[in-house]
Symmetry: C2
């Protein structure tokens, strides 16, 4: 099995159990996690662990799961009627459409807290677990992803300058993607300094990932994207600000920078990141 | 300064900083935490630490703060239009009224993740921090508070039997109150077994606290309660199910059980809990 298949297998075997007399809360908790998606963040984390120290691969699964739980909660809340008001995600109805809005809010809340429980219960040393909690919480919360989303929502109808747009997306998308590499590095036993270097490379990957997402949103059909695409609507996207061609060129420039930053890295790690870039950030 | 004053002082000195070009997200993050409230959970945690090992009191503050951040996020989300649709809380407008719904959702999300960052950054051993993360995440997430809220919302218009009502409130209110005592015990260096015993007593305190809250909701004015009170509306409350007098008697019975459970405990600890019961659960 490749890394993605290993993770999907782990996910199915380790769903959240939540027994009660609620008719569907347990099902709703696992619904979006089971709906597929690229698991790009889990792949980054597990890829780093696999490249640096294969013996830690199985124990890293719990933290990869935590990461995907945080990512899933953010999608569930972003899709809410008061935010993006999206009916579909990953090719299936969003939680507030399939169940109701209360369930969507509460499933997101539960996944957010439960993610940290997964780390606390992982088969890792206390020192590593505390570092993982710190990295994930810092990048998910008010210093990272949530701040990015707050900026995106507040300035939805305002054209931002390029540096503000980057500030926003480095948090909204970049922070958690960068955290994936840092978490992998810490679990694999790399130094805090090396982990932080990878984090910085991860921010660039996150930015390129966001530009690619904007390009897909601007050019793909909703079937291809698995979610509604809004070709006409104004959003603070790179494509809306600088156009398709300049966005593509900007993305290529960032990818070139990433390759340069990776020059002195271990071959396994370079291959991993190059392959993910090839698969998800090209075209 | 007493414990409550110490905590309020700490809270004001340790607000979340969140610098960006968002006009009010940082302010909104701290708005409900600064709005007062009883800080009952922080008082329980800090009270246990103070009673068992005063030398840990200052270092426990960060965890008490995390607990109040989780409690505050839950109030912010419970008040949302799709849930309780409440305009006031702690005597001031709720976040979605003062700012907007997006901000209320995102502030709640940020407080949820940020709470775990506070623990990760606390001045405690890694072993204690991992235990604190585990206790808080377990009781806040899908095994605890959120499940209780999901049940409360789903069965809003259905009369539940008493055992189901207890199951619900043991999670919605009891879990986090019980976690407060367990967290205090762990930080103060008590054994896991002693901490778990206190947790069980905490569940009873939580149940008595909920019944008291229902009694206030049924009998107080909204000015006294600092939030809207819904004398007429059907809710799955103890008062609606068994009436005011039987609810009072049930609460007294639980309080008597708590006193009995505390018999072999250290005098400081007994005094702490007795005083909090006297102050918040009587009348």
């Amino acid at each position: 099995m490749n890394i993605l298949e290993c993770f999907k297998d782990y996910l199915k075997q380790n769903l959240t159990k939540c027994k009660s007399y609620h008719p569907y809360f347990e099902e709703a908790l696992n619904y979006m996690l089971l709906a597929g998606g690229k698991h790009f963040r889990a792949q980054l984390l597990l890829g780093v662990v696999n490249a640096v120290d294969k013996s830690k691969f199985n124990d890293a699964m719990a933290v990869a799961m935590a990461l995907e739980m945080i990512h899933s909660y953010s999608l569930i809340h972003d899709d809410l009627p008061s935010m993006d008001n999206a009916d579909f995600r990953r090719g299936i109805p969003t939680i507030h459409k399939k169940y109701d809005e209360v369930t969507a809010i509460l499933v997101g809340d539960a996944l957010n807290s439960d993610a940290f429980l997964r780390i606390a219960n992982a088969n890792l040393s206390d020192e590593i677990k505390v570092k993982c909690v710190r990295i994930l919480a810092h990048n998910a919360g008010s210093a990272g992803m949530v701040l990015g989303q707050a900026l995106d929502c507040f300035f939805e109808k305002t054209t931002l300058e390029l540096d503000k747009l980057e500030f926003l997306h480095l948090r909204k998308t970049g922070a958690l993607i960068a955290a994936s590499l840092e978490l992998g590095a810490i679990i694999a036993g790399l130094s805090d300094e090396k982990a932080k270097e990878l984090y910085k490379i991860g921010l660039k990957i996150g930015l390129a990932f966001q530009i690619q997402d904007d390009l897909i949103d601007a050019t793909a059909t909703s079937e291809e994207a698995g979610k509604p695409v809004n070709h006409d609507e104004f959003k603070n996207s790179f494509v809306n600000l600088i156009g398709v061609e300049r966005s593509k060129a900007y993305k290529e420039k960032i990818i070139a920078q990433i390759s340069e930053n990776l020059q002195n890295y271990d071959e396994n790690l370079v291959n991993l990141i190059s392959n993910l870039i090839e698969k998800y950030l090209k075209g």
